[in-house]
C-alpha cells in the first residue's frame, strides 16, 4: 500500500530525513519509535505533504501512485490521514462543520454522496461513540480550548469519520493518562481492519502494549537504524535509545561514503 523509497527531506536548508525506506502493506500496523528530534513528525508531515518539507530525493508511492509532489488535500482524498502530534486550534470554525466539510470534500473527489447536516449528524453521533468522545465538543471551535486529551481524541474521531486507507498517528499517546491511553488505544483497535494500514509514531512503548504492531522501526537522526518485531519496542523500553547510537554512526559513515561517490 505504501512504499517510501530512500526519502530525503529538508526544511530551510536543514537536512532532516536522510534516506528513509519503508514498506507498509494493507492490514499492517507499523510503529516508528525514536527520541525527540529524530525526525518522526517530519516523516509524518512529509507523508501528508506539508509545505516546507521539501523532498530532495527519493519518492513516496501510495496505492501504486507516486504522490511525492502531491498537495495535502490530494493525499487526503487518496486515503492518507495524519493524526497530528499537536492538533491545530482553528478558532471560529465549529468542529461539526469542519468534519462535514472534510468528509464531503473527500466524498466529492470520489464522486460519492455528500451528506447534509442532518445525515452527517447521525454519522457523527455513531463515531463519537466509537472514540468515546463528548458530543458537546463538536459544537465548539476546532481544538480551541480543548485539553490535550480532547485534542488527541478529536484526531482519532476524524480518523473514524474519514476511514482512511493509511492512518499516520503521530504520538496519539503523548500527554494521556493511563485511562485515556487505554481508551484511545481501544478506539484505534476498533478502527483497524484488513484493508487499512496504520503507522503509529511514539516515543514510548506503552501504547504498543495495547495496539500491537506487526513491525517496529527505530528512527534516529533522520534514519531508520533498526527494524524488528514488537520485541524491539520492549528493548527500547528497558535499555533506551542510546544502544542504537552505534548503528547510527555506522550508517552515517555509509551514507557519507555513498554521497561522496
Amino acid at each position: 500500500m505504501l512504499e517510501i523509497k530512500n526519502l530525503n527531506v529538508s526544511t530551510d536548508n536543514t537536512h532532516i530525513l536522510k534516506g528513509i525506506s519503508l514498506k507498509v502493506s494493507a492490514g499492517e500496523i507499523h510503529a516508528i519509535m525514536g527520541p525527540n528530534g529524530s525526525g518522526k513528525s517530519s516523516l509524518a508531515f512529509s507523508l501528508a505533504g506539508k509545505p516546507g518539507y521539501n523532498v530532495t530525493s527519493g519518492e513516496i508511492i501510495f496505492d501504486k501512485t507516486n504522490i511525492t509532489s502531491m498537495e495535502p488535500e490530494g493525499r487526503a482524498r487518496a486515503g492518507i490521514f495524519l493524526s497530528f502530534q499537536h492538533p491545530v486550534e482553528v478558532p471560529g470554525v465549529r468542529l461539526d462543520q469542519f468534519l462535514r466539510a472534510s468528509f464531503n470534500a473527500i466524498n466529492k473527489s470520489r464522486e460519492m454522496d455528500q451528506l447534509d447536516p442532518l445525515q452527517f449528524d447521525k454519522k457523527l453521533k455513531e463515531r463519537l461513540k466509537v472514540v468515546d468522545m463528548d458530543p458537546a465538543l463538536t459544537k465548539r471551535f476546532v481544538n480551541t480550548g480543548f485539553s490535550g486529551g480532547e485534542k488527541k481524541r478529536n484526531e482519532i474521531l476524524q480518523m473514524a469519520i474519514l476511514q482512511p486507507q493509511l492512518a499516520v498517528l503521530d504520538e496519539p499517546d503523548s500527554g494521556l493518562d493511563v485511562d485515556a491511553l487505554k481508551s484511545v488505544a481501544d478506539a484505534i483497535n476498533k478502527l483497524r481492519h484488513s484493508s487499512n494500514a496504520i503507522i503509529i509514531i511514539t516515543h514510548y512503548q506503552r501504547i504498543l502494549e495495547y495496539v500491537v504492531p506487526d513491525a517496529v522501526h527505530i528512527l534516529m537522526d533522520g534514519r531508520i537504524v533498526k527494524s524488528g518485531n514488537k520485541d524491539l519496542a520492549r528493548e527500547v523500553e528497558s535499555q533506551g535509545y542510546e544502544q542504537f547510537a552505534n548503528y547510527l554512526s555506522n550508517q552515517s559513515h555509509l551514507t557519507e561514503k555513498e554521497s561522496r561517490q
Partner: protein, 447 residues
C-alpha cells in the same frame, strides 16, 4: 429647498444662520442657545486637521472632510417612493419597530412604531422638545461632549431631527427598535447630522439598532451623535451597522452612561465608508454595571476605518469587555484605539480589551493603539492585540483533511470574525450579523 455651498468654516457659519432661521418657529430658547454654543465652539476649533499635537486624530486625516464642500439640506427633499423596496427589505424593516430618516428627515411612510408598548416614547427629536421639554433639556447634549470634540459640536449646532427614545421603568420591548438613517439623495456632498437620545428607566430592557445605509454610491458626510443612558439594572443591546456608500465619510460618536447594575452590549459592524471614525465612550457611572463592546470591520480598496473606544470605569465592581476584529484587504487601513481609564479609589475593576486583524493583502495596514490610565490598585486589566496573515498551520491542518486550499482560506477568514459573532447574546441577531458579514465577504472577497 435651500442649499448652501460650503467650502470652509465660514460657510458652515452662514449655513447655520439659515438653519437657525428655518428652525426658529419650532425651537425653544434653550435649544437655540445650545446650538449657538456649539457652533461657537466649532468656529473656534474648526476641523481637527492639525497633524501635530493632535493625539485624538493622529491616525485619521480628516482634511478631505475639512476641504469638502458639503451642503446642508434645510428642507425635506426626497420622495419616499424613490427609496427602492428591496433596499428597505434588506434592512429587515419587518422584523423591527422602525424609525426611518432619509437624508436627515423623518420619513413618515417608512416609519412604523405603532406596535411599541404604549408606555414607551419614541419620536422625532424635534417633537420631543415640545412633548417632553424638561426631560429632553435635562439630557440632550449632556453626555456627548461638544466642548472638546469639533464633530460633536458641528452635529449639536445643526441637530434638529433624530430619534428620541424613552423606555420607562420595568418595560421591556420585544422587537428591536431600529433607527435607520438612509442617504438617498442623488446629489452628492450632502452633510447630515443624525442624532439619537435614548434613555432607559430602572429594570427596563430593549435592543437598539442604529443602521446607516445608502441608496447610491455617492460621496457625502454623515456626522452622527448618539447618547444612550442606562437606568438602574436596565439592559440594552446596541447594534450599530455602518453600511454607508464606499465613497462616504462617516464620523460618529456614541456616548453611553451605565447606571447601577446595568448591562450594555454593543456590536459595531463597519462595512462601508471611505473614511470612517467611530468614537465609542462608555462610562460606568453606577456600581455593578458592565459592558461588552464588540466590533467587526471588513475593509477593502482604500477604505480607512478608525475605531476609538474609551471605557471609563467610574465606579467599583464594574466590568468591561472589548473584542474587535477586522478583515483587511486591498490598500485599506484600520486603526483601533482602545483606552481604559480607571478612576482612583475603586474596587474590583475587571477590564479586558482585544483587537485582532487579519491582513489579506501586503498593502493592507492595521494599527492597534491600546492605552491604559489606571489610578486604582484593585484592577484586573488585560489586553491582546495581533495582526497577521492567515495561519499556515491551520491551512495545512484543513487541507490535510481533504479540504481544498481555497475553501480552507475561506473557512479561516469567516472563522476569524466568528468569535465576535458568537459573543452576540441573541440567536436572531447572531444570524443577522452572520448573514451581513457573509454578504460583505462575498462582495469584497468573492467568498
Amino acid at each position: 429647498m435651500i442649499q448652501v455651498e460650503q467650502t470652509n468654516i465660514e460657510n458652515y457659519l452662514s449655513a447655520f444662520k439659515i438653519f437657525e432661521q428655518a428652525e426658529s418657529s419650532t425651537s425653544s430658547n434653550w435649544m437655540i442657545n445650545l446650538r449657538r454654543n456649539a457652533i461657537a465652539q466649532f468656529e473656534n476649533s474648526g476641523f481637527p486637521t492639525a497633524r501635530r499635537g493632535n493625539e485624538e486624530w493622529k491616525y485619521t486625516d480628516v482634511s478631505p472632510i475639512a476641504k469638502g464642500s458639503f451642503k446642508i439640506l434645510h428642507n425635506k427633499s426626497h420622495n419616499a417612493n424613490q427609496l427602492p423596496d428591496t433596499k428597505y427589505q434588506q434592512l429587515e424593516g419587518s422584523a423591527c419597530h422602525n424609525l426611518v430618516f432619509v437624508d436627515g428627515f423623518l420619513d413618515e411612510n417608512l416609519t412604523n412604531i405603532s406596535s411599541l408598548p404604549k408606555e414607551v416614547l419614541v419620536c422625532n427629536l424635534s417633537d420631543a422638545v415640545s412633548i417632553e421639554p424638561t426631560f429632553t433639556q435635562r439630557h440632550l447634549a449632556k453626555y456627548a461632549d461638544f466642548l472638546h470634540h469639533p464633530f460633536t459640536a458641528l452635529n449639536t449646532a445643526f441637530m434638529a431631527q433624530g430619534a428620541f427614545i424613552w423606555v420607562p421603568p420595568n418595560i421591556s420591548i420585544d422587537k428591536p427598535l431600529q433607527v435607520l438613517f438612509i442617504s438617498s439623495s442623488s446629489n452628492s456632498n450632502l452633510i447630515t447630522n443624525p442624532r439619537i437620545l435614548a434613555l432607559t428607566g430602572e429594570n427596563s430592557k430593549f435592543t437598539l439598532i442604529e443602521n446607516h445605509s445608502a441608496v447610491n454610491e455617492n460621496s457625502y458626510l454623515a456626522n452622527v451623535v448618539s447618547e444612550i443612558v442606562l437606568g438602574t439594572n436596565s439592559n440594552v443591546q446596541y447594534y450599530r451597522i455602518q453600511q454607508e456608500s464606499k465613497k462616504a465619510f462617516h464620523i460618529s460618536t456614541t456616548h453611553v452612561e451605565l447606571g447601577k447594575g446595568s448591562r450594555f452590549f454593543s456590536m459595531n459592524l463597519d462595512l462601508g465608508g471611505e473614511i470612517v471614525r467611530n468614537n465609542l465612550n462608555v462610562v460606568t457611572e453606577g456600581e455593578d454595571s458592565s459592558c461588552s463592546v464588540n466590533g467587526i470591520y471588513i475593509t477593502t480598496a482604500s477604505q480607512h476605518i478608525d475605531n476609538k473606544v474609551v471605557i471609563n470605569h467610574n465606579s467599583s465592581y464594574t466590568t468591561s469587555r472589548e473584542l474587535y476584529k477586522g478583515i483587511l484587504s486591498g490598500k485599506s487601513k484600520a486603526i483601533f484605539h482602545g483606552s481604559i481609564v480607571v478612576r482612583e479609589g475603586l474596587r474590583q475593576i475587571d477590564a479586558l480589551q482585544i483587537d485582532k486583524n487579519l491582513l489579506l493583502s501586503d498593502q493592507a495596514q492595521a494599527n492597534t493603539k491600546p492605552a491604559f490610565w489606571i489610578y486604582s490598585d484593585d484592577v484586573k486589566c488585560g489586553h491582546g492585540a495581533a495582526s497577521g496573515q492567515i495561519d499556515r498551520n491551520a491551512i495545512f491542518y484543513l487541507t490535510s483533511r481533504g479540504i481544498s486550499e481555497s475553501d480552507a482560506r475561506n473557512l479561516l477568514v469567516k472563522g476569524f470574525v466568528q468569535e465576535v459573532i458568537e459573543s452576540i447574546p441573541n440567536k436572531f441577531y447572531k444570524d443577522k450579523m452572520d448573514n451581513m458579514v457573509n454578504a460583505s465577504l462575498l462582495d469584497v472577497l468573492g467568498i
